[in-house]
């Protein structure tokens, strides 16, 4: 039942690669942004928070459309790249990766900012008094105490990217091995009335997802930090 075609495997590989890189990049980018957002009350912060959240309210097709315009051969970025003899980014893996990062930004930033905001200043003060510098504090105190926020941010980002369809349809097309991700492929299978493939792929995805999530949640629960 679970014999997938090479095209299916290729799509799975592209999808996982996309989700993995997006999540990785976003956690790195979102952490300082979220920290800054949660560490004050200024109007600038509110504005940045709203800007960061914009991809939330833009339909993915809009985002994809404008990314296509910007990253494509005639766009600001794509055009510049072309003028340096490089390839523009529309319909490339790098292109959909950039779009994914933008698209999922709020899903990483918001839970992190919320987690940082709930942290309070005491743990950081304690760690400082015990000689821990900025990075040390971050790794040994902030990170473990906001782990829940990171798990939420990472799972939501990963998932939101996995479920990305509109953006990729616009910007990525459906180039096998490059931009044909699972969501596009399954759509394609359904459209081709290739129901058996669609079912097979979906079922596999479902089982895989359930076990992954089960393991992730078991682990994070096990190490849950208790509060009074």
């Amino acid at each position: 039942m679970l014999e997938l075609s090479p095209a299916d495997w290729q799509a799975i590989e592209v999808t996982l690669r996309l989700c993995f890189y997006t999540t990785l990049i976003l956690l790195i980018i979102a952490t300082p942004i979220a920290w800054w957002l949660s560490s004050g009350q200024s109007a600038a912060r509110v504005a940045v928070q709203a800007i960061v959240a914009l991809p939330l309210v833009l339909p993915p097709t809009v985002l994809g459309f404008y990314m296509l315009i910007v990253l494509g051969p005639r766009g600001v970025i794509g055009g510049t790249l072309e003028s340096f003899g490089l390839h523009h980014l529309a319909f490339t893996f790098e292109g959909i990766l950039i779009a994914s990062v933008l698209y999922s930004m709020p899903f990483a930033v918001q839970p992190l900012a919320e987690a940082f905001g709930n942290l309070g200043r005491r743990p950081v003060e304690v760690a400082s008094s015990l000689g821990a510098g900025l990075i040390d504090r971050f790794i040994t105190v902030i990170l473990p105490l906001t782990k829940g926020g990171f798990v939420v941010a990472a799972t939501l980002t990963f998932a939101h990217t996995l479920g990305e369809f509109g953006v990729i349809l616009m910007l990525g097309g459906s180039i096998p091995g490059e931009t044909r991700v699972l969501s596009v492929l399954i759509y394609d299978h359904a459209e081709a009335m290739n129901y058996e493939s669609a079912h097979r792929l979906s079922l596999m995805l479902l089982i895989f997802a359930f076990f992954t999530l089960f393991v992730v949640y078991s682990l994070t629960r096990r190490f849950k930090v208790a509060k009074i």
Binding site: R122, E125, S129, L130, G131, A132, L145, A226
Partner: protein
Amino acid sequence: MTLAIKARLKRSDFELDVDIELPLNGVTSLFGRSGCGKTTLLRIMAGLEKVRDAEVRFGNQIWQHGRHFVPLHQRQIGIVFQEHSLLPHLSVRGNLLYGYKRTPESLRRLHLGEVTDMLGITGLLDRPTDRLSGGQRQRVSVGRALLASPQLLLLDEPLSALDTQNKREIMPFLSRLTAESGVPIVMVTHSPDEVERLADRVVFMEDGRITSHESLQKTLTRPDSPLFADEGAVCVLEGSVQPGPNDGLTRFGNEHIQFLIQTGLAPQGKPMRLRIHSNDVAIARYPVEEVSVMNQLPVTIEQIVAFRPGRVLVAGKLRDGQTLTAEITEHSCRKLGLENGQHVHALIKSVALLE
């Protein structure tokens, strides 16, 4: 070498204005009513309260001056916060060792075993911090600060949740620590008992201002010391344990004065302090016979001041020049006809040897 702080801070209903230099040795007690700014002052010392134009100097290290600011983690300050501040994601051991691990081996003065034994928390090392009682948590906080071997200890009511026995074990340890390794301690407390036992000097605060800053000696004998709003005056006499009789008693004092105290309280020859509550001292015109009061010392009255309503404090000079104060009723004072220059006998019911 001093710890100098100069700062002004304004909050809605509160204004702090301090300019103080504290010697970098022994224990400085911060004493004052709830809300007077003690915690705020400690936070300024630590660099945790952002105050513009504040100046903080520790010996020859400038911690804050103008735009120059040394962050807390480079100041090597051990802090026991007033409220529960254990890192919730670490076990008791993890908390205790957090600062220890970050201290270069050569600077480590204390080690896990001795500290946990002293604090009575050795059995709790593997507990998560949310499975501790209030007092256990406080002891872990104290241990954590000590194990970081800081160059300054800021303790904000570090013993408030502890029972007497625990306090009695921890206080001498702190005294010894500051005496032996020279780490100065600034400690907030509401307990006069803790001040008497630990402090070398006391800083009194009121409404964000420092009202006085004096040696313990001075505080203890000053009749209006805020320390004794409750307890009454106390005086402290210096001396050492002398070879004495037997019978469970030892002599304490110097060539001029002699007290009988219980044996075994202190090693012979070491300079020590004797604390005497003025309330425990009676005055007799003549030596009293057949009474259980063992210590009767001749004194010359130097001063008689009204103290609390209906009571006076009689300061008498002992033969060695130290001052002993007796708190008696005005009634008795009048009845005995006490006046300056008179030679009388001080009857001392009980004394406490301070560690």
